[in-house]
């Protein structure tokens, strides 16, 4: 009996100790990572945490490092590629040891950026040169920089679409549905593929936000308004997805889809369309080369909605690189980020939008340019608020769950109707906003 008490006591002590431990960190808060004046003077070794395991394995990142060393000979760059990037980095960030340069994980709240990352400079100064600065701005200081930008869109097989007799991009959701129906009846292809099982492709639908209303303040509207109000961007997007599945225009069994297998299928024309983004075009073209079909068949089209006779497409950043606030080599780390953003050619190699404002559009987006698609840089001042609303309400506009439920609803595997479903989301969103108000 006595011994048991001792054991219980020590467990309680451990619990206290453990909870005390989590309260540490943040001592270096507010540090700056200044760019070094003389490249040859910078010394030190860097650890770069990255989610691009593929580029580390095939040696591409090593080539970037070698190129970097031509300008900065004194810096040794090492890469730490993490397969489950979000999950692992999140846990490592409970300590001070999370590399010198890392991609800001999505889970970190914006207000905590100054506790984890060193500032790269003021918003006014950086936004003159770079895109996406406001995605990591806290109190006028910028904490991260995305090395590339992406533009959402429907990746489609041009051959299949033209076989069905469609050559022009649809301009309304109704027209888009008619085109999918034409593909369904005139070709053997699956008109639309949801990638339901792999979940994250469904979250891409949130990137529609901004494309319908063509409003740079679309993110602010999410934070302040009702995302599923009549005519709101997300409602238009979710309704289109619902109608696609409801009309039998999606794959037969969404529950066993396979992302990797969907790429060659799109390339071969067994799938006509998927809502993804410009970043996916490279992968689909690779798949086309491997499948022996024409990579030029893979195209990208904007969301079927026009404002004043023009399509709109939003640009959004990839993971943003940042400097660990606890790093001993902040100057070298800053040098790496600047070099990687400005000179590495990483964005070009990924056929993506350059983070530099004055850079020309990549080849993938040439059709957008020709068709006069307006590219919108969304104002992300309220981005953090939207994220915390999203978590508080457990709706998950950046998570797959509610769209999986939406697809189930459309298939008839879930009870209810669309209005009720979206109404419930509205209600939860409003309740969460109320609970977050001070």
């Amino acid at each position: 009996m006595n011994r048991r008490k001792v054991l219980a006591g020590s467990i309680a002590a451990l619990a206290l100790l453990a909870s005390a431990c989590t309260g540490t960190g943040g001592s270096a808060e507010g540090a700056d990572a200044e760019a070094p004046a003389d490249p040859s003077e910078v010394k030190g070794s860097l650890t770069v945490l990255t989610h691009r395991t593929d580029l580390v394995q095939d040696g591409t990142m090593k080539k970037y490092a070698a190129e970097f060393n031509r300008t900065y000979p004194g810096v040794k760059v090492e890469f730490d590629a993490l397969t489950d990037y979000e999950g692992e980095v999140k846990i490592r960030m409970n300590t001070e040891d999370y590399g010198d340069v890392l991609m800001i994980p999505a889970v970190i709240e914006k207000k905590d950026y100054p506790k984890f990352f060193a500032s790269l400079g003021g918003e006014a100064e950086r936004s003159a040169k770079y895109r996406f600065t406001d995605y990591s701005t806290v109190d006028g200081k910028v904490y991260g920089q995305s090395p590339l930008g992406v533009v959402p869109g429907f990746v489609y097989n041009k051959r299949v679409w033209s076989e069905a007799g469609v050559t022009d991009w649809p301009t309304t959701p109704a027209e888009f549905l008619d085109d999918l129906k034409a593909i369904g009846s005139r070709t053997d292809a699956v008109p639309y593929y949801t990638n339901f099982k792999d979940m994250w492709p469904l979250t891409q639908w949130t990137n529609v936000n901004g494309s319908v209303g063509c409003d740079p303040a679309a993110t602010t509207e999410l934070a302040e308004g009702d995302p599923w109000a009549e005519g709101a961007d997300l409602r238009v997007a979710d309704t289109l997805l619902y109608d696609i599945v409801r009309g039998g225009l999606a794959e037969k069994d969404p529950t066993t889809t396979n992302w990797e297998a969907s790429k060659p299928k799109l390339a071969r024309g067994e799938i006509a369309t998927m809502w993804l983004g410009s970043w996916a075009v490279v992968q689909m073209r690779d798949a086309a080369k491997r499948a022996g079909t024409d990579p030029a068949d893979i195209g990208l089209m904007p969301f079927p909605a026009q404002k004043d006779g023009a399509f709109c497409a939003v640009t959004s950043p990839d993971y943003q690189q940042a400097v660990n606030v606890h790093s001993d080599n902040k100057a070298a780390a800053r040098a790496w980020i600047d070099w990687f953003t400005d000179e590495s050619g990483y964005a070009g190699a990924n056929l993506a939008l350059s983070p530099l404002k004055d850079a020309p559009l990549p080849e993938v987006l040439k059709p957008y340019e020709e068709a006069g698609v307006k590219l919108l840089d969304l104002d992300d001042a309220k981005g953090a608020e939207v994220k915390s609303l999203d978590n508080r309400s457990e709706v998950g506009i950046y998570k797959p769950d509610y769209r999986q439920d939406l697809v189930d609803l459309a298939r008839g595997a879930r009870k209810g109707d669309l209005d009720g479903f979206l109404g419930d989301l509205t209600k939860r969103w409003a309740e969460a906003r109320k609970s977050l108000e001070p």
Binding site: I11, L14, I108, M199, T255, D401
Partner: protein, 316 residues
């Protein structure tokens, strides 16, 4: 017991001056003798505390905070998480899904009992069949999830096998909540049958052989042998299996998580907890949910032990 430890202690601690001829050892030696078992236990105890009790204590501590899993700041919220959990009834609706697995575990126990009984008698190829039945339990649960994903795919293994028998189905096996949960529970039975089977087989084989002989001489049928010798003989193991099945059904995780990720009404309590913690960053609430699940499992076990007390079995 004390004697063996004393013997073991001697070569380890040469510093102890205790001579073999002196009966009452001096104080120092007695102390070191009492310490010795603990010295041996340091390594396992340290591991146990570090990897089992410290995380649990930590989890309990988090359940009283609003920690988001990564922020350096966390505030104490008292029993706020528990009140939220218990006032949101929709968080407990997922336990209906456990019903499928509970029903499946009845099938599983009955099937395991049947196979164990049959294979405890002298049947042809019995060792081969024992292997076949136990084998799935040795495979990693994640691998099973992936394999069965192909199995249930449209035009996958199940459809082709049914096609061989002339049954052409166009059924999406994971397509509706009922079908998906039944399919997943089926996978769970396939996987866990082996463990129950081996437990039962071991218990049945520990029943003395002469009892069967005596029963056979008295003209007892196989059913009567089962009813009056095997069933009472394996009762403790049977009740253990039931406890394991109930707690297992309440905390199903890997098979549905890998195969459907909780979509189409297959979300279990543990999947929901994981989503709260890692999707919505409510680590505090999720910790509270984990604590509540632990309490529920303990309560169910306790109730079951009260209803079916563990009596001593005496066959002979």
């Amino acid at each position: 017991m004390a004697d063996t430890t004393r013997k073991a202690a001697r070569p380890v601690l040469p510093a102890a001056p205790a001579g073999p001829q002196r009966a009452p050892a001096p104080r120092g030696a007695r102390l070191s003798r009492r310490l010795t078992p603990w010295l041996f236990l340091i390594a396992p105890l340290a591991l146990l505390l570090t990897f089992t009790y410290a995380p649990i204590a930590n989890m309990v501590a988090y359940s009283f905070t609003d920690w988001d899993g990564v922020s350096p700041e966390l505030t104490y919220t008292g029993i706020g998480n528990y009140t939220e959990l218990l006032t949101r009834s929709e968080l407990f609706e997922v336990f209906f899904v456990s019903g499928y697995y509970l029903a499946a575990s009845v099938v599983q126990i009955v099937a395991a009992l049947y196979f164990a009984t049959v294979l405890s008698f002298d049947v042809r190829f019995r060792n081969f069949f024992k292997g076949v039945l136990f084998f799935p339990y040795l495979i990693n649960g994640v691998a099973i999830g992936f394999v069965f994903l192909y199995f249930f795919q449209d035009g996958g293994t199940l459809d082709s096998v049914l096609g061989l028998f002339g049954v052409e189905t166009d059924h999406a096996w994971l397509g509706t909540p009922f079908s998906a949960n039944t399919s997943l529970a089926g996978v769970s039975v396939w996987r866990h049958l082996g463990l129950n089977f081996v437990l039962f087989l071991g218990a049945i084989q520990s029943v003395p052989g002469e009892l069967y002989e005596a029963a056979e001489i008295d003209g007892a049928s196989r059913w009567q042998q089962f009813r009056h010798i095997i069933a009472p003989g394996i009762r403790p193991v049977l009740s253990l299996s039931v406890i394991l099945s109930v707690s297992g059904s309440l905390s199903v995780f890997e098979i549905p998580y890998i195969m459907t990720g909780g979509a189409t009404g297959t979300e279990t309590f543990v999947i929901q907890t994981v989503k709260l913690a890692f999707q919505f960053n409510k680590t505090g609430l999720a910790s509270a949910a984990a604590v509540v699940l632990l309490l529920i499992v303990l309560a169910v076990t306790w109730v079951q032990r009260r209803i079916v007390p563990d009596e001593k079995v005496d066959l002979v």
